[in-house]
Amino acid sequence: MKTSKSLLSIILIVILVMSFTAMALAQDLDIIPIKVRCRAKPPMENWRGLNFLVAEKDLNADLEAMGDPRRVKVEVIQDNLDWGDYITEFVLGYGAGESPDIWLTGHEYIGTQAEAGRIIALDGIIEEFPIYNLVFDTLWDCTKYKGKIWGVPQDAEARPLYWNKTLLKKLGWSDGEIAALPGKIEKGEFTLYDMLETAKQAVDKGVVEPGNGFWTRPKNGPDFTPFYYAFGGETIDSATGKLVFDKTAGLKYYGFFYDAAQKYGSMGCLGLDWSSAWHPGVTSKVLFWVGGTWQWAEWAEKFLKDLGGEAYMWENFGFGLIPAAEKGGKPNSLTHPLAYLVSSQCKYPDLAVALIAKVTNYGPNTRHAITSTHLGILKGQTEYKFYKQSRLLSEALYMLDYTTFLPNNPYWGTYSTITYEALAACVSGDFTPEKAVDFVVEGLNRELGDKIIIK
C-alpha cells in the first residue's frame, strides 16, 4: 500500500515537472501572427495565399533549427474583391492600424502606397535571401519606385489577342492561314486595322453579329494601354517620373476604337457583366478579343468545362500578340505583375520577407502558374519539370519578349479613368477622336495639373 502511494506520488511529481517544463518552453516561444491578404479567383488562383500556409511550417522549421524563439502563425485572407474595393480596404485598414502584414497587389499601386508610407522598401532585407536572385530582372523593375524595391513579384502574364478558329473557318480561312496568323502578327504583317477588316467581313457575311467582330475587356483596366503603346503612345517620362499623354498617339488610339465601333462592327462589349455576358460572349460568338493568359484557365474551368475544357479550347481558339498599328511595326503585349508588398505596420518585416522567399520558389510558384495559367517569374522556370507540362505557358512565353508595363505612378488611377472615359465615349459615338483627345487633355490638366506632361 505504501509502495503504491509512493509510486503515485512520483508519477504526479513527474507529470507536474513535465507540465511546468512544457509551459516554460511554450512561454519561451514567441508566436508571431502574420496576416496575408491576397486577391485570388477561386479555385484557379488559390495558391497565391495557400502557398503561405505551406511556407509557414517550412519557416518555423528553419527558425527552430537556428534556435530563434519566434514562430510564425499565418492567417490568409483571400477573395475575389474588385481591385478598387481591394485597394480601399487596405488604405482604410491601414488608417485604422489593422493593415495585413503581407499584401498582394498590382505593381502599379506601389507608387501610391510608397508615397503614403504604407509599405516599406525591401532593399537591405531581400539581399539576405538569395532565392530572390532567381526572379527576372524586368519584373524587379516593375516593383521599383524612386530607385528602391517595394515589392516581390508574384506572377506575370501576357495579354494576347485571341481568335475563334471556328468562326475564321466559316469566314473562309484555311487551317494553314489560321495557324500562320501568330507568326504574321509577330512579323508585323497583320496589323490592328487588318484585324478590324477581318472583323468587318465576318459581320458583313453574318458570321458574327454586329458588335462582335472584336472585343476588349468590358470595363476600365490595363488591357487598353498596349493599344495606346501600339500607336506610339508613352505613359511615363523616365527623366521626371511624371505621367505623359501623347496627343498624336492618342488621336490614332481613339481613332482606332472609334472606327472599330462605328465602322467595323466591333466593340459591342463595353459595360457587359463579366460572368453573365462577357465570358460567355468571347467563348462562343466573338471573332477577335483581348484577354489575359489567366483567363485561359478560367474559361476551361468555369465556362467551357462541359464542352471539353482546355482540349476544346485548343481546338477552337488561337492566340497571338496584339498586332502592330502599321505594317512592319512591332506587336506588343502587356504584363501586369502582381507583387507581395510588406506593410509599414508589420512588426516583423524580416519574417514577412522570409515567408515571401519561401513562396518565391519553383515549386510554389509553378503550382500557381499552372493552375491559374500565369507566366512564371523565375529564371529557369521553363525548364522545371512541372512547369513544362503546361502547353499554354510554354506557347505564350515568347510574348514576354514583346511585353510592356503600366507605369508605377500614384496618379495612374486618375489618368486611366479619364483616358478610359474618352475611349468609352468614342465607342458609344458620343465623342469623335478629336473630341476625345480634347477631353483627355482638359481632364488630365484639371485633375493632375503639373503632375502630367502633355506632348
Binding site: D82, W83, G84, D85, Y86, I87, T88, V91, L92, Y94, G95, E108, Y109, T112, E115, A116, G117, R118, E209, K219, N220, G221, L270, G271, L272, D273, S276, A277, P410, Y411, W412, G413, T414, S416, T417, E421, A424, A425, V427, S428, D430, F439, E442, R446, E447
Partner: protein, 335 residues
Amino acid sequence: MSKNFQLERETSSLSSFPNSKSFFSKLKSWLLPYAFLSPTLVVVTLFFFIPLVMVFILSFTNLDMTNFGILKWWQPANWTLDNYVKIFTNRFFPRILNNTLMYVSMTLIFFNVGMALVIALITTNINRRVGFAFRLIWLMCRLTPVVVYIMMWKALAGPAPMGVLNKHILGPLGIGGGEFLLNTNPWVFVILANGFIGASFGMIIFSSAIEAIPKDYMIASKVDGASTWQTIRYITIPMIKWPLLFVTTYQTLSLLTSFEQILLLTNGGPGLYETEVWSLTAYHRAFSSYFGNTQWGYGSAWAVILVIIGIIMAIIYLRVFKFNELIQEPKIDQL
C-alpha cells in the same frame, strides 16, 4: 349647493398644486422630455450631423487615396472650391443631372406615387381580405434582400436562351434578337426594379389613409349620385393630401439618394454614364474605381450638392402642398 362646494374645492386644490412642487421635481419635469429625447439626439448627432459636417468639410479638400493619412483635411488652409469647379465643368455633368431628374420623376410619378395610389384605391375597394393579400404579395419585393431582388431582375432580362423574358415571352412572339435586355433597354429595368419596391411604401401609407376616411362621406357621395371617379377626385384625394405630401416628399428624397439597385443592376452603364445618377456618381468617385483612385473629397462634393438639391426639393413640396395649412389645428377644434 354641495356640488358647487365640491367644484370649488377641486379648483382650489388644482390651483395650489404647482406651488407644492419642490425645486427638484420642477427640474425633473423640465428635464424629463429631454431625457426621453436624448437617445435620438445622440444617435442623430453621431450618425447624421457629425458625418454631414465632415462630408461638407471634406468636399472642400482633395482627400483621396494618395494623401489619406497625410492631408490635414480639417485645416482651412487645405480647403478650396476646386471640387465644385470640377463638377460643374465636368463634361458629363449635364448627362448625370438629366439622368437623375428622369430617374426620380419617372419612378416617382409612375410608381412610388402613381402606382401606389392606384393599388391602394383598388385594394381598399375590393374584398378586404383579397386586398390585404394582394398588398402583402406586393410587399415581397421590399422584403427581399436587394442583391437577391436584383439577381431576379437580371435573370428576367438575361439574353436568350437563359433570360426569362427572352425565352418565354419575347422569343415566342418574335420580338427582338434575344439580346441582354439590360443592354438594350437599361432605363426600363432601372425604373421598374426601383418602382416595384417604391410603390409598396406608398401603397401601405395610402391604404391606411383611405381606410381611415369616415365611411359617411363615401355613403353621402353615393347617395348624391357621385361616380367612382368623382368620389376619388373630390373626397378620397383631398382627404389623403397629407399622406400624399409625405410620400411624395419622402420618396423624392429617397430616390435622389438611392443608388444600390442601379449599382447592382447596371452600375451606371451599359454605355458611358447611360444610367449613372447623381448619388451613384458620388459613390463611384468616393468609393469605387478600377485602379483604386478613390477621391473622397471630390465624391463628398457630389454628395453635398445632392443634399442641397434635396433640401430645395423638400421646401418646394412643402410650399406646393401648403404644409402650414395642413398642420393647422382643425377649425372645429379652434372654436
